[in-house]
């Protein structure tokens, strides 16, 4: 493994781990607050899967000598995170413990955007030049159909529902579209990753994502304005919002105060 290959691989693994980790956390903040009880069951299951996927990628980083996987998830500073900014943004005003006024439309659109992308990325990673990553992707992708179906159902139904639902969904769509470009970014090491066969190229999965999302938009008669953007910066290069720092301080509070207390 050349130093250049290793650096690109580690950058890629942080993108994969951090995407799943932070979105699983944002999803878990919804527990008990979703529109109905069956959704609580489904959403928790999806979040638990995503957190499990993050653990797999953090373990690969541990195996590459990056440090203990729990430390990687909980003790790195926000600037070391490589998740897309879209995935770290707060669910809405308030906190889950105090007057949550979360936006379900935002949750649906964000998860739908992410899971369409996640399927495309996993299919590309099945051919990765790093065998442990190719094997993990081959396994994770077999479960992805259930997540995708879940969010697509919500997306289509709310888009085709009442005027109010449509208005709220379109507002969420423009918010998510403004940062969807960050999902599709591979960051500054992207060209090296593709060159070494670690992933597909950024252009390839951008085209695939646009095509897949375009088909869903066509079903519900929606036309986005402009290209997916990076309004809050490129998380793949360590650019983040204050929302990430806040989430990480909550997530790691117990671990930081007493690593033994967590007991996992």
């Amino acid at each position: 493994m050349t130093p250049e290959y290793r650096t690109a691989l580690i950058e890629l693994l942080y993108q994969l781990a951090d995407d799943n980790f932070i979105l699983a956390y944002r999803g878990s903040e919804w527990l008990g607050l979703t529109p109905h009880i069956e959704e609580d069951v489904a959403f928790s299951s999806i979040n638990q899967n995503a957190m499990g996927h993050a653990a797999i990628y953090y373990q690969m980083l541990e195996d590459l000598g990056e440090g203990k996987s729990d430390d990687l998830a909980l003790l790195r500073p926000p600037a070391a995170f490589r998740n897309a900014v879209l995935l770290e943004l707060k669910n809405g005003p308030g906190n889950y413990w105090d007057a949550p006024d979360y936006d379900w439309a935002f949750a649906v659109v964000r998860h739908f955007f992410f899971d369409v992308f996640k399927s495309i990325r996993l299919n590309a990673l099945k051919k990765s030049s790093y065998p442990p990553l190719a094997a993990a992707a081959g396994k994770i992708v077999t479960e992805q159909a259930y997540h995708l179906m879940h969010w697509e159902t919500w997306f289509v139904q709310l888009m085709m529902s009442t005027d109010e639902a449509r208005r709220r969904m379109e507002k969420a769509l423009s918010l998510c579209w403004a940062d969807a470009g960050g999902l599709l970014s591979l960051g500054k090491w992207g060209a090296v990753m593709a060159e070494h066969g670690l992933t597909a190229t950024e252009a390839e999965w951008r085209d695939q994502w646009r095509q897949a999302i375009g088909q869903s938009f066509a079903r519900v008669g929606y036309v986005p304005i402009g290209e997916p953007g990076m309004a809050h910066g490129d998380g793949r290069n360590g650019e983040h919002t204050a929302d990430l720092g806040e989430a990480l301080s909550i997530l790691s509070e117990v671990y930081r105060s007493d690593p033994q207390a967590t007991g996992w």
Partner: protein
């Protein structure tokens, strides 16, 4: 006892280990066991996780180590998890499918391919007049259903399929 004899005994012992989230079925019938090897009394067991993010893996590993250590002649136990090949529901044995049913969980279709419709029979009365209440259930691998014939709620194991042709071939 020689290593070959020990291997048979280790494999037998593994049939006593249950998935804590599916206590009705053993890990061998579930198709999680990929390989067992024994070299000079040292056992090495490769297991395939059913769902990639399954939180029960640590417990299963602990249970496997404790069980195999009790096999006479085994001096050391190593357990590794692998995604290669990926576990699919096709790996569940016919006995495993019966064990699931007896536990009240509808087994997934034996030969599922991606995109196939999911045909589910009620584990209690065998009726296929059932409705899905929730694709997601109490664990990652199960869904919640309702039988319109015998009016029992029940769970079903989600089919997980894999197209072998899509896997990269080593050059």
């Amino acid at each position: 006892m020689d290593d070959e004899g020990l291997k048979t005994r280790v494999t037998e012992a593994l049939k006593k280990v249950k998935d804590p989230e599916l206590p009705g079925i053993d890990i061998v019938a579930l198709g999680m066991l990929e390989t067992v090897s024994v070299t000079s009394g040292r056992a090495r067991i490769t297991l395939l996780p059913t769902f990639s993010g399954c939180p029960a893996l640590d417990l299963i590993k602990k249970e496997v180590v404790e069980t195999v250590r009790r096999v006479d002649g085994v001096t050391e136990v190593a357990v590794v998890f692998s995604f290669d090949p990926p576990w699919t529901t096709a790996r569940i044995s016919p006995e495993g499918r019966e064990q699931l049913k007896a536990y009240g969980i509808a087994p997934p279709p034996a030969a599922q391919r991606p995109g196939d419709p999911w045909e589910i029979e009620c584990p209690y009365c065998g009726s296929s007049v059932v409705t899905v209440e929730n694709w997601f259930g109490p664990t990652a691998c199960r869904s919640l259903l309702y039988c319109r014939s015998c009016r029992n709620p029940f769970e079903a194991m989600k089919p997980v399929a894999h197209v072998a042709d899509e896997r990269p071939r080593p050059d």
